[in-house]
Symmetry: C2
Subunit: 337 residues, 2 copies
Amino acid sequence: MFDTVPLAQVTRGSQLEVIYRGAIAVVNTHGELVASAGDPNLTTFLRSSAKPFQLLPLVESGGADRFGFSERELAVMAASHNGEEFHVEAVTGILQRLGLDVNALQCGTHAPAYAPAARALEDAGQQPNALHNNCSGKHSGMLAQCLGRKLPIESYLDPQHPIQITIKQTLAELAGIPPDSIELATDGCSVPTFAIPLTASARAFAQLADPSQWSEPRRSALHRVASAMMAYPEMVGGTQRLDTDVMRAGKGRVVVKGGAEGYYGMGILPLGLGVALKLEDGDAGRGRNAVVIEVLRQLGALDDDSLVALQRYAAGPFKNHRGLTVGQVQPCFDLTH
Amino acid sequence: MFDTVPLAQVTRGSQLEVIYRGAIAVVNTHGELVASAGDPNLTTFLRSSAKPFQLLPLVESGGADRFGFSERELAVMAASHNGEEFHVEAVTGILQRLGLDVNALQCGTHAPAYAPAARALEDAGQQPNALHNNCSGKHSGMLAQCLGRKLPIESYLDPQHPIQITIKQTLAELAGIPPDSIELATDGCSVPTFAIPLTASARAFAQLADPSQWSEPRRSALHRVASAMMAYPEMVGGTQRLDTDVMRAGKGRVVVKGGAEGYYGMGILPLGLGVALKLEDGDAGRGRNAVVIEVLRQLGALDDDSLVALQRYAAGPFKNHRGLTVGQVQPCFDLTH
């Protein structure tokens, strides 16, 4: 079982209606715990929060330069994108650069996550394909890793494929843990996914925020991945997405990547801190959003204007279908200790 | 805070990924606790699980007969419906019978809960109106209560309106608690909503399952509301809705009504039991569904064929976008003690 604490609650009138439990770890670049809520060593899957680290070996190995990938293209390789037209075009361009097409992607197919994009596809009488899968950018980046190292592409999902071994090794180094301690399972898009303690994950995110302890080429690669994500936040998520809007509001101060089932990772650049958090029930909406914004507020990671810009994600009162205020979402954790 | 326990968990590979916590109370018609998980006296809002009891005074007072409402119409008055065409038609018919129209409904407007119905409306270039609100049936039933008692309809949402006072009193009697102990707040559709202990709510559901301890007209009214819901389960929810599918599979053995934020109420007819449960995080999907089916299984409320028919809601393995089995949902509570 997870050792979690209430992170946010919903009240209606004066009565409690919902509790979101979870755990948070805030660490510095050396992996020292700076603040926490619940069990900071809670161990579970990063899911898509691993994407910046799954991309890193491509950049670190010089593959991004060899193929001439733009920052915008790197950003979509670290994305859980909405399947909007500009995402699909970017991934299509990456595959073309590699001499591949949609058939090389083994992520599977789902309709665009952004409802209007799914609707537009339907209206055009088109079926979604693997390009619309929110992970298609990551998969195109993995294919680039294969080609850059002259490795077979058919088996790139296999945990024993050299690129997957490199990715796992890279994550372990950034997280400061032995590779063998990483528990593997299969992600929604069929690649290996990693279960590690929140502290370890937060430590990896701290390296994105401040890569100065690393020698080259890792130092520049970490900087380049974080910069690409912050420069093109719409590529990392899309319209009305928390990741996108936090990085947009953060203006280069925060690099973030959400994962499925209530996971969230953040690097806070001015503070050189990494954050990993998990909502134990997998919430990725009202509860998760409020907790993420509250963490940023409590850490002083964002200025007041940025917080105002993110108000729709933050805790606060909510209204019913007639516009009456009927309750409120409240954070109930304190990182300042 | 709620005193809850893990009710269901999700594992990916061999690792825990999600926990759903909550509480369950199972009581007999006398309110005696038969089984529980977590705090059976957890107090929170019934939300839409109160609908059968919000309808009861109309039937009990003879209003349903006076207006000649059919079982099908009574079922939609106890519904959180999908806003499908047949729901909208039924509510329109009720209002016509009352000499009213959509403008009398004060529930507010939202798009049909069933996506294809919302889409069909959009394709027809029509805006959703209050008839599509999942609570429009309940509101039409409240309007009928006003007219049946020759009371003003404009103020029917007011907690001090005589019909709301009667509804609260009725719920208190069925739940075996003092009316003054019921905490009120405003529901999503603007009517008063009731916070009471799970045991009390379960006791009210037990009366739907077995009304024999009541004298007339309540006895027949309880029977009539439960029978209407079980006879026309598609009116109570709609296509691909847990409430509808459970009552359809139950073939007269169970009467159920879900509420927002992970609330669920059930009456088990052959056992004369009532159940109320709450997922503390408000989950109304994977977790809530698995818990509801597991409660029915553990209580022996449904036969094997019925459980097979409900398999899509039950705990079990799940697949990713490529059809690979990657994890499973498992119940983790035991009511048999």
